[in-house]
C-alpha cells in the first residue's frame, strides 16, 4: 500500500537545493513524550474499571455489573475489564494507573459541548477558539518546531491554534513524483508562504510502519492500531514531535454495551501496547493519557446500556507515570454520593491532571499554564503524585 508521507528518498538532495529547514534542526524543549488519546462518545468508566466488590455497584447494575471472573483484580475493590487485560503487564510493572470519578468543569450532557470544553480548556463550550494543547505547545517553544502531531483526517480542536502542528492521515492519493516536486519547489521560491510550507513538508518525517501486518481486521481496529504505530514511530524520532493526539469513536453505548465495549477495550489496549513497543527506549519518558468527554450514568438503563453522565475514568500509561495506583478521590456509589442522584460524582478535576502533565511532565512553568493554557482555573490544583517528573 502506498503510504503518506513526505519524501524519504531524495529529500537530502532537495534539502541541499533548498537549504535546511529550521524545523528539522531546532532543539526540542523537552525529551518527554505525551500521547493524548481521546475516546469520543463518553466511556463507561464503571465498565472498564469496575468497583466489582461494591454491593452498590451490583444494585445499580443488575445486568451489567462485571463478575469477579470478568475482571483482573487490582486492589480487592476495583478490577480491570478482561478486554483490557493486555494492559495488565503495565500495571504489574508500575506503568499504568487510573483516575476514576474525574471530569472537566462541564456539567451538562451534550457530547459536542463537553468535547469542545475539554479541548478548548475554558469553562464554556465556546469559551475559547483554540485548543489548550496548542497553547501549551506554543508556550513550550514559541513555534520554532512543530512539536504537535495530529493523527487522523482532521486536526482536533485541542490541537488547533496559533502553533502549527504536524498531521498525519491515511491518504488514498498517489504521491507526486520527485522530479515534479523538485520543480515545484523551485517555482515556489518566489512566494514565501508557499516556499515555507513546502520547506516544512520536506523536513517532515515519514512513519516507517508495516501496513500489511494490519490486514484482516475491521476498519476501526485497524485505524487505531495504525494510528498508534504512526504516533509511536514519529514520536520516537529525535527530531520528531513530542505531543501526539489520537482518537477513537464508538463509546456512546446507550444499548447493548457489553459486546461493543469488549471489542473497543481490546482495540484500546492493543493500541497502548503498540505505542509502548513503537516508542521502545522512549517509553520510559512517555505519558499516555486516555480521556473521554464525560462519564456515564452509575445505573444501567433499560436497554443493557448506560446514558450520559458526569464523573468518568481517566487512564494513564507509560514509563513516566507513577503506576500501579488508583489515584484521586473515589466518592463511591452510595445514592447520596452520586451527582444529581444518578452519575458518578466528579471528584477529581481533569484540568488538574492536564496541568500536572504540562508542568511536571513537559516542564512548562506553572505561571504560563495558569495564565495562558488554562486561564481562570486557579482553584483547580494540579493533581500530585501521578507523574515521575522532569
Amino acid at each position: 500500500m502506498e503510504r503518506r508521507r513526505f519524501l524519504q528518498l531524495g529529500s537530502a538532495a532537495l534539502m541541499g537545493a533548498l537549504g535546511s529547514t529550521r524545523s528539522a534542526y531546532a532543539a526540542a524543549p523537552t525529551d518527554n513524550r505525551l500521547v493524548f488519546v481521546f475516546l469520543r462518545g463518553a466511556l463507561d468508566g464503571l465498565h472498564a474499571l469496575a468497583p466489582y466488590a461494591d454491593p452498590a455497584y451490583r444494585e445499580l447494575r443488575p445486568q451489567l455489573a462485571l463478575e469477579r471472573d470478568q475482571v483482573n483484580d487490582l486492589n480487592g475493590y476495583f478490577g480491570l475489564h478482561t478486554g483490557l487485560g493486555a494492559l495488565m503487564p503495565l500495571w504489574q510493572s508500575g506503568e499504568l494507573s487510573f483516575l476514576p470519578a474525574t471530569s472537566t468543569r462541564y456539567r451538562s450532557r451534550s457530547h459536542f459541548d463537553a468535547q469542545n470544553l475539554l479541548e478548548n480548556g475554558s469553562t464554556t463550550p465556546y469559551g475559547m477558539r483554540d485548543g489548550w494543547l496548542n497553547r501549551a505547545i506554543l508556550a513550550l517553544n514559541d513555534n520554532d518546531r512543530r512539536l504537535g502531531l495530529s493523527i487522523g483526517p482532521a486536526v482536533p480542536l485541542i490541537l488547533q491554534g496559533q502553533a502549527s502542528v504536524q498531521s498525519w492521515s491515511d491518504s488514498s492519493l498517489p504521491e507526486a513524483d520527485e522530479d515534479f516536486l523538485l520543480r515545484v519547489g523551485r517555482m515556489y521560491q518566489q512566494d514565501p508562504v508557499f516556499a515555507d510550507a513546502f520547506h516544512d513538508a520536506q523536513g517532515a518525517l515519514q512513519p516507517d510502519i508495516d501496513m500489511n501486518a494490519m490486514g484482516g481486521r475491521n476498519n476501526s481496529a485497524r485505524d487505531f492500531a495504525i494510528s498508534a504505530q504512526v504516533a509511536a514511530d514519529l514520536l520516537a524520532h529525535p527530531q520528531g514531535p513530542r505531543v501526539a493526539v489520537m482518537e477513537m469513536t464508538g463509546w456512546d453505548t446507550h444499548f447493548n454495551q457489553e459486546a461493543r465495549l469488549n471489542g473497543l477495550f481490546q482495540q484500546l489496549a492493543e493500541g497502548i501496547i503498540l505505542l509502548r513497543d513503537g516508542l521502545a527506549r522512549d517509553w520510559s519518558r512517555t505519558a499516555v493519557v486516555v480521556v473521554s468527554e464525560f462519564g456515564r450514568t452509575a445505573a444501567e438503563n433499560g436497554s443493557r446500556g448506560t446514558d450520559h453522565g458526569t464523573g468518568g475514568l481517566v487512564m494513564l500509561a507509560g514509563g513516566a507515570v507513577r503506576g500501579r495506583q488508583i489515584g484521586g478521590d473515589w466518592p463511591g456509589l452510595a445514592q447520596a454520593a452520586l451527582f444529581e442522584g444518578r452519575d458518578v460524582m466528579p471528584a477529581n478535576p481533569m484540568e488538574g491532571l492536564f496541568k500536572t502533565l504540562l508542568i511536571a511532565h513537559l516542564g512548562l512553568p506553572a505561571s504560563v499554564v495558569e495564565s495562558t493554557v488554562f486561564p481562570a482555573s486557579t482553584p483547580l490544583r494540579p493533581l500530585e503524585g501521578l507523574i515521575v517528573g522532569v
Binding site: 508521507r5 513526505f6 451534550s110 459536542f112 459541548d113 469542545n116 463550550p125 465556546y126 477558539r129 483526517p153 482532521a154 480542536l157 488547533q160 502549527s164 504536524q166 498531521s167 498525519w168 492521515s169 491518504s171 488514498s172 492519493l173 498517489p174 504521491e175 507526486a176 513524483d177 522530479d179 515534479f180 516536486l181 520543480r183 515545484v184 523551485r186 517555482m187 515556489y188 521560491q189 518566489q190 512566494d191 508562504v193 508557499f194 510550507a197 513546502f198 520547506h199 516544512d200 513538508a201 517532515a204 444529581e340 442522584g341
Partner: protein
C-alpha cells in the same frame, strides 16, 4: 421548511457543478460566503440530511436581499434550530420547563447556544457589546422555536420538516435585550429582537469586516471596512447595495492574489480551468475528503477560517500537489498548457511560474504545474 434526504451526494454534486459551470461565479461566491457565515455542520450528524436544504432555503434567496431576511430565515430554519440546540431549549418557567425541572431535578432547562451564536457569530460579533444577561434573555425569547418534528419517523426519505412554535416551551414574561424591553409576544418576540440585531451598528461593522476579509485581504484596509459599514447602515442592510459598494471599492482590485484559496475554492477552480463537460464525483469528493473540507463539515459554528495561513500547512500543500498532479494526467491531451496558463493567470503570471510551466516534461505536467503555482492557489 427542510427536506431531509437519505443520500445527499446527487445534490452536493449538482451544487459543485453549478460552481464549476456558472456564468455568475460572483453570486456563487456570495452563496458560499453567507453559507459559511451562517454555518450549519454535519458534525451534528442528525442535521446532515437537511444541510443542503438550509443553504437553498435560508441563504441563496437572500444574497442580494436584506440581511434581516437572511438572518430571520437562518435563525428559524429547522436545520439551524437543531444544530445549535434550540429545539432542546425550554423556558424554565414555561409549563414544560417546570415539569422537566421538577422531574429531573435540573437547575435550568434553557439552552443558550443558538442565542449566543447569533449574537457572537451572526450579528454583533464577539466584541459587539452584549453581555451574558443579553444572551440569557435572548435565549428565553426564542424558547419554543422548534420544528414540526420527524413526522412519520419511519416514512422513507425525503421528508419535510417545517418551523413550528411550541407555546408550552416558551418562557413567559417580558425580556430585556441590549437595554430594550420586549413585552411577552410569543413567537414574535424573537423576530423583533432579530430585527433590531440585524440593523445594529456592531452587526454592520461585523459583516463589513468579514466581507472585506473575504474579498480583499486577511487584514483588510480599515477604510474599506468603514465604507461597507456605512453602506450597510444607510441602506438598512440591503445586501445588493453592500455588495455593489464592495465591487466599487478600489481595494479588491489593487490587491490581487492577496488571498489564498480554501481547499474547496482550489478544487473548484481547477475544475473550472480544466473545463471538462462532465464533472466526476471522485475528482471532487476525494480531494476534499483528503484535504478535510467536505461540504457542510465545518468544525464549529464559526465556520471555515477565512485566513490564508490556515489553508496552506505543509501537509495540506502536499495533498493539493498530489491531487493536482494526478488529476492533470486524466485531462485530454488537447488542452494546451499555454492557453490554459493565459486563461488562468493572464497578466498575473510571474516569470518564475511561466518558466517552470514551459520547462515541464509533458503537457499534463505543465497543467499540474499551473494548478499548483502560487498564483493559481491564490485569488
Amino acid at each position: 421548511m427542510a427536506i431531509l434526504r437519505d443520500d445527499l451526494r446527487p445534490e452536493l454534486m449538482d451544487r459543485f457543478r453549478t460552481q464549476v459551470t456558472t456564468e455568475t461565479p460572483f453570486a456563487e461566491r456570495l452563496v458560499r460566503f453567507w453559507s459559511n457565515h451562517f454555518t450549519v455542520s454535519n458534525v451534528v450528524r442528525v442535521i446532515s440530511p437537511a444541510t443542503t436544504a438550509f443553504e437553498r432555503e435560508a441563504i441563496r434567496p437572500f444574497i442580494f436581499g436584506r440581511f434581516a431576511e437572511m438572518l430571520r430565515a437562518s435563525s428559524r430554519h429547522p436545520c439551524m434550530l437543531t444544530y445549535l440546540d434550540n429545539i432542546r431549549s425550554v423556558g424554565p418557567n414555561s409549563p414544560q420547563g417546570r415539569r422537566q425541572m421538577q422531574r429531573q431535578g435540573l437547575e435550568t432547562t434553557l439552552n443558550e447556544n443558538l442565542a449566543r451564536e447569533i449574537l457572537e457569530l451572526h450579528t454583533l460579533g464577539v466584541n459587539g457589546g452584549y453581555t451574558q444577561d443579553d444572551v440569557i434573555e435572548f435565549a428565553k425569547a426564542i424558547t419554543g422555536w422548534g420544528h414540526s418534528g420527524l413526522v412519520g419517523r419511519d416514512a422513507p426519505l425525503p421528508r419535510q420538516i417545517t418551523f413550528a412554535f411550541n407555546e408550552a416551551a416558551h418562557e413567559p414574561g417580558p425580556k430585556t435585550v441590549l437595554g430594550r424591553r420586549y413585552p411577552e409576544a410569543g413567537d414574535e418576540e424573537g423576530v423583533r429582537i432579530l430585527n433590531v440585531l440585524a440593523h445594529h451598528p456592531s452587526t454592520a461593522r461585523h459583516i463589513a469586516t468579514k466581507l472585506a476579509r473575504h474579498f480583499i485581504a486577511d487584514d483588510p484596509p480599515p477604510e474599506a471596512v468603514e465604507t461597507l459599514t456605512n453602506v450597510f447602515l444607510e441602506t438598512g442592510g440591503n445586501l445588493a447595495e453592500v455588495t455593489r459598494a464592495l465591487v466599487l471599492l478600489d481595494a479588491p482590485w489593487n490587491q490581487p492574489l492577496s488571498k489564498i484559496k480554501t481547499h474547496e475554492e482550489f478544487v473548484i477552480s481547477v475544475h473550472r480551468l480544466a473545463g471538462l463537460e462532465s464533472l466526476q464525483q471522485r475528482e471532487v469528493m476525494e480531494p476534499l475528503r483528503e484535504l478535510n473540507q467536505q461540504p457542510f463539515s465545518a468544525p464549529s459554528p464559526a465556520g471555515w477560517s477565512d485566513r490564508g495561513p490556515d489553508w496552506i500547512g505543509p501537509e495540506a500543500l502536499m495533498m493539493r500537489i498530489d491531487w493536482a498532479r494526478r488529476y492533470a494526467t486524466t485531462l485530454p491531451p488537447t488542452l494546451s498548457p499555454d492557453e490554459v496558463l493565459q486563461t488562468a493567470l493572464g497578466p498575473m503570471c510571474s516569470e518564475d511560474t511561466r518558466t517552470w510551466v514551459s520547462r515541464a516534461a509533458s503537457g499534463d505536467e505543465a497543467l499540474a504545474m499551473i494548478f499548483v503555482s502560487p498564483e493559481f492557489q491564490r485569488r
